[in-house]
Amino acid sequence: MDNTTRYNRLLERFRNGDLDRRNFLGLIGAAGAAYGLQTPFARTALAQDVQQVRFDGWGGVVSEAFRKHAFDPYTAATGINVVDGTFSGGDEYLAQVRSSQEGEYNIAHLSGVFDYARYVNLDLTTKLNIANIPNMDLVMDALTDAYRRVTPDYLSAVPYNYGTTGLAYNRKYISDEEMKEKGAKILIDEAYKDKIGGWSDWRTRIWYGALQTGQDPNNITDIEAVWDAIRSHRDLALKYWGSGAELMSLLAEEEIYVTEGWSGRIAALQEQGHDIGYYDPPNGFGWQECLFVIKGSPVEACEELLNFMLAPETSIAVAEGQNYPPALDGTKVDLGSKIPTLPAYDPSGTLEALTFADPAYWNGNEAEWSETFSRVQRGF
């Protein structure tokens, strides 16, 4: 019997007069106390029946596509409910996971290989049995290998989609030719003072600082030059944006003419009819997202759900909704007509054209660089 049924029966007894108010409230309080006390120890109850799996993602059209194509069919097939949560940022979500009990959060739609590495470093991983996820055969090896370099002996996630953080610009004020000529340096071009934007994320700022100073973002040799480039950008920028919605609003309202932007969000702006160009400069910022299974989760149930989520019809529906290409290999799966037109899409299935962040390098510098960026941003 589940807890809801137990509560309803108790409530009915109380309403029928079989239970006085004092006892009713006492039992409710005792149930609450018991739940609060048992949770830390529930992690040892590995043989418990799995009744639900929690998934956390970015919400919006992605959640709708997951619900329709993966969660509901999964519940119909297994009887396990999928609780669907959302978050606004990976950092914020990690803070929630760290302060939760094991098993409270199960699967998350995480960004970047460095996020994967952060969860590994914080001992939040689970060892997946890939044999239980047959649809992994359809996924590009290049994406899976990035995770295997972090955890060579196992995987705690499956790749799901990828994209780039390239240069987005208003074609009314900046031509395609000018953008190609100036590349990342357009973000520190004084001609566009107060019409430049940028993501407030320290990694992106440093990545583009490296490009502006002619350095390899995965092997920066002169970090002081990068900080100077970030200072120049800060002084010319109107606003650091903090979310995809804010990015789209700033560009659509012509508050800014040029910024870095997420490929999927810029594709969405283009779909809406805005004349916004998108350009991935050489060594532009490529990234991938995964479905990560968090420590303490019911592993087999999660593996089965991952298989539903990786199924081509689900992956393609989600990809078309969020405008990011799926992790599925286009040489193995027919991805339809829209996906090959998306920014950052790689028909070869090798992703050799994209540059991804080296997780060991970036996470190794995270503590120092994230704090220094906070100071540089405020004029130091």
């Binding site: 950092d91 760290r98 914080l122 320290w202 995270e366 704090e371």
Partner: protein
């Protein structure tokens, strides 16, 4: 048990649910934060337990944190003064109006029915490059290019005044309502002009309300982080933004704990000074 002892215990019995809630939901979490502030962030992002003063030394001696803290107090002070200047006449008007006070108070409370974030973001549609003000001025031919009114410190202060003004108006209103209007009449009957009667009778008597509103505006203003995030430029940050960044972006919970306690202590000192000279009773009246 004697009647005296039972009567002595009764207030504590009645207070126990509230004290329990404050203890569990405020004091205990606060103690956790105190303990955390002495820990250290490990290289992998985890925490290293122990008793280390590093975070406190950094928070107290680093000029960066001092600069942002002083800037936060400056922004909160400017906001408070503006709220007082704008809020007092509004409160006076409501207190002295006849018949429609409830409607005016209701109108003043209306913004509270809308999310603070939405209210803050509404300024983008008013002051933005394609916002109502710029569009209107351009349509009238007053300007040729949009004026840059957003994403600077002035916009942050504007957003804070918008958020905090009702707190000031309510406190001053409560204070003015408690003043016997016969005192003003007495002053004018003794030869004072209306302005003199206001300056020498009404204003001094309403100062406790003004101070209570000022304290609320200052404390709430100094603790905000949404407004600079939405309306500020790249450089604009308040101390709460640094706490957010330390905890969420840098995963440095120990440093974030020390910073949040530092802000709490600074604001706590201000509240203590207020309580020493004016008492908390006036604040309770305004909030009630």
């Amino acid at each position: 048990m004697s009647i005296e002892r039972r009567e002595a215990r009764q207030p504590w019995i009645l207070l126990s649910p509230a004290l329990g809630a404050v203890g569990l939901l405020l004091i205990v979490p606060l103690l956790f934060i105190v303990v955390y502030s002495f820990w250290l962030r490990s290289a992998t992002g985890g925490d290293t337990a122990g008793f280390h003063l590093d975070n406190w030394i950094k928070a107290l001696t680093d000029p960066f944190y001092r600069y942002i803290l002083l800037n936060t107090l400056k922004i909160a002070a400017i906001t408070t003064v503006l709220c007082a200047l704008l809020g007092y006449p509004a409160a006076y008007f409501i207190a002295r109006s006849k018949g429609n006070k409830m409607i005016l108070l209701l109108l003043m409370m209306l913004p509270f029915w809308i999310s603070y974030i939405i209210r803050t973001m509404s300024w983008i549609n008013i002051l933005g490059a394609s916002g109502a003000l710029n569009s209107g001025l351009m349509a009238l031919g007053v300007i040729n290019e949009p004026l840059q009114m957003l994403y600077n410190e002035a916009a942050v202060i504007l957003g804070l005044v918008h958020f905090l003004l009702p707190f000031m108006v309510l406190n001053v209103y409560v204070s003015l309502e408690g003043i016997d209007t016969n005192l003003e009449d007495a002053a004018t009957s003794l030869g004072a002009t209306r302005w003199q009667s206001f300056l020498q009778v009404t204003l001094p008597l309403s100062l406790p309300g003004l101070a209570a509103g000022g304290l609320l505006c200052f404390v709430l203003g100094a603790g905000t982080y949404i407004t600079p995030l939405v309306l500020g430029g790249p450089r604009d940050a308040m101390f709460a933004n640094l706490v957010f960044e330390a905890i969420i972006t840098q995963l440095n919970w120990p440093l974030g704990s020390a910073l949040s306690l530092l802000l709490l202590m600074v604001l706590g000192v201000l509240v203590a000074i207020y309580n020493r000279y004016l008492g908390m009773a006036q604040l309770a009246k305004g909030l009630g």
